[in-house]
């Protein structure tokens, strides 16, 4: 029936094999590969457990520490102090304590294991379409770096939408790319190592419930351990009391330091919720009136009550990444466009094997673009464009290492420093502040007004990574070191390295 339509169709009659694709095993009747779930080929740096039901960040060591601290302290409280208190005061104490403990644990696990609101990366077609649109808008000169920001007016406030080079999308407002997890997250608050996950739109309320209930729990335990010791002291004397329940000392110490940090953090997040801001926005001072006369938060609902309700009791959007769905073989493939613009390497593992030649053309195009873009962007003083560079950095060495020599390869080494001073690297905002304080880092690069305000924030960044109850000065430096180590050269070099290897493999496969 198709014979009359076009000559080329006739050939299709005899075989269903895709002559366009390089791999002959795309034939539908040869399904030997078992069905894989989407989480198995998830492009971000996340870990999945229980066949995709549980999703966490790559580094989970600190999360286990959090768990251990909570379990040990509560365990000691219940075994050590509760019996005495239940007998001498009221049995309600262990009951309330138990309920609080379960709630804390529940919210912690919920925060850690759920999808924070990861935005799936653009499909190859989408990315190509966007690129085409950007080129058209750019006038297709080819040499000028394409604008990677879009402006939109929300409730009378101009907001810049940035293009994410990793995910190949224009990020929605309030979304941010977490470099630790390598995902764009909606309403990104911060990456919390203590819960081992990003805190974003879908798990912010659980995170808040967690720190709030943990505050109550630590205050509760602290108060009753002290009461325990006092009551025992009345009976037997102070030293004997300590000897009778030695664990109490440990509990008091842990709780004492936790109370300061956790309660402070809860207070900070209560403020954020009531003003409908994210940690990211607050630290950058995005909606501060110091930035401009008419600068206001376009997302705030106006009153504190509505803001709180919206953040905590609003509708919970479902996960957009469909971790447990099965990867499907493609529906009708796009006929290779004649203009040669196809994006290589589909980030979702859809088997859209584009023409090898097109891959090569596109890869080379990316190389040239990426090579020229950061150079030119660095010269411009706009901090906004610089934010593209962390993502830009990743693709950059991949392409340049093959086709361009010398000058561009030195860029990756230079690159990590500007990004550290750009305000939009949200997930490291907080940890950035600590080394800045300690090592006099050039943070002046970003808005000068932030420096006096920064002092106020020195407390908060400590809390923002939300230590649930830790050792005093040791920990900030401790974890800032890990963060620092994680963020500065090793991690950025690692990701550069990874990406350059990936890029090399891709280009070499062409």
């Amino acid at each position: 029936m198709h014979l009359g339509v076009s000559e080329s169709m006739r050939e299709c009659e005899y075989s269903q094999i895709s002559t366009r694709s390089s791999t002959p095993m795309e034939t539908p009747y040869k399904k030997k590969t078992p069905k894989r779930r989407k989480w198995e080929s998830f492009p971000g740096r996340n870990k999945f457990y229980c066949d995709g039901r549980i999703m966490m960040a790559k580094q989970t060591g600190v999360f286990y520490l959090t768990l251990v601290l909570i379990l040990v302290t509560c365990g000691l409280f219940f075994t050590n102090d509760c019996r005495f208190l239940a007998e001498n005061l009221t049995p309600a104490i262990p009951v309330i304590g138990g309920a609080l403990f379960l709630f804390v644990l529940g919210t912690l696990l919920r925060t850690s294991f759920s999808d924070p609101g990861v935005l799936p990366r653009a499909t190859a077609d989408e990315a190509a379409d966007l690129e085409r649109q950007i080129d058209v808008a750019n006038g297709s000169t080819g040499y000028r770096p394409p604008p990677r920001t879009k402006e939109v007016v929300i409730n009378g406030q101009t907001v810049k939408l940035k293009y994410c080079f990793t995910c190949k999308i224009f990020r929605p407002p309030r979304a941010s790319h977490c470099s630790l997890c390598d995902n764009c997250v909606e309403r990104f608050d911060h990456h919390c190592p203590w819960v081992g996950n990003c805190v974003g739109r879908r798990n912010y309320r659980f995170f808040y419930m967690f720190i709030l209930s943990l505050s109550f729990l630590t205050i509760f335990i602290f108060a009753f351990v002290i009461t325990n010791i006092i009551l025992r002291s009345h009976k037997n004397g102070f030293l004997d009391a300590l000897k009778d329940s030695p664990a109490s000392v440990l509990e008091v110490v842990v709780c004492f330091f936790s109370v300061w940090s956790i309660v402070g953090l809860s207070g900070f997040h209560t403020y954020l919720i009531s003003s409908n801001q994210t940690t990211n926005e607050d630290i950058k001072g995005s909606w501060s009136s110091k930035r401009g006369k008419d600068n206001h938060n376009p997302y705030s609902h106006g009153n504190i009550f509505t803001n709180c309700c919206a953040a905590l009791c609003g509708p919970l959007p479902p996960s957009l990444i469909d971790r447990r769905g099965f990867i499907q073989s493609d529906a009708p493939q796009l006929a290779p466009p004649t203009n040669g613009i196809t994006t290589y390497g589909a980030t979702q593992s859809q088997q859209s094997h584009m023409c090898d030649q097109d891959q090569c053309i596109q890869s080379t195009k990316f190389v040239l673009q990426a090579a020229t873009t950061p150079l030119l962007q660095q010269q411009s003083s706009e901090p906004v464009i610089l934010t593209a560079s962390p993502e830009n950095v990743a693709p950059l060495p991949a392409r340049t290492s093959l086709s361009l020599a010398g000058p561009c390869t030195s860029l990756p080494l230079g690159q990590p420093t500007p990004p550290t001073s750009t305000p939009s690297l949200s997930c490291h905002e907080a940890t950035d502040m600590l080394p800045i304080h300690g090592h006099g880092h050039t943070h002046n690069h970003s808005h000068p007004y932030q420096e006096p305000v920064a002092h106020h924030h020195y407390l908060t960044p400590e809390e923002v990574p939300s230590p649930p109850g830790m050792l005093p000065c040791g920990s900030p430096l401790g974890h800032s070191h890990t963060m620092q180590a994680g963020f500065y050269n090793p991690a950025s070099q690692d990701s550069l390295h990874e990406d350059s290897v990936r890029g090399l493999v891709k280009l070499s496969s062409v």
């Binding site: 366009r20 309700c309 009791c313």
Partner: protein, 144 residues
């Protein structure tokens, strides 16, 4: 448009191109799509019809994300049951998403498929875009 046919098969028509309807963020972070008819579709579908489809979708998404008594109640109940209640019942959002899926299927069957177009549920694209696949026009000779 594309002369090189998509070799897949005789059963499925060849895909000519894809158009993406982007999100409209002018009202904030709520899910809303741009209602402007893209130029590639001008010859295929009526502007009014298209706008109506997109507007209905926008309204449905707004309903899903609406803050009101019902959603607060659901949120509070969920909090009290430590969110275990969602193991049993569906959230309001999920219910509306199912409604949207049915609506899109319905629209595809009635309006878009006869015109050689296919709307893809934005949920499959992470609520970033509405992907409209344009199939080759078979009615008169070869594709455009």
């Amino acid at each position: 448009m594309a002369e090189t046919h998509s070799l897949q098969d005789l059963q499925q028509p060849a895909v000519s191109s894809k158009v993406f309807i982007q999100r409209d963020y002018s009202s904030g972070t709520i899910c809303k799509f741009q209602t402007k008819l893209p130029s590639e579709l001008e010859s295929r579908i009526d502007k009014q019809q298209f706008e109506e489809t997109i507007q209905t979708l926008n309204n449905l998404y707004a309903e899903a994300e609406k803050l009101g008594g019902k959603s607060y109640l659901e949120g509070c109940l969920a909090c009290l049951t430590a969110y275990t209640i969602f193991l049993c019942i569906e959230t309001h959002y999920e219910k509306v998403l199912k409604k949207i899926a049915r609506y899109i299927k319905d629209q595809n069957e009635k309006i878009y498929a006869p015109r050689g177009l296919l709307l893809t549920d934005p949920l499959e694209r992470g609520l970033r875009v509405i992907e409209i696949t344009i199939f080759e026009d078979r009615s008169i000779g070869s594709g455009r």
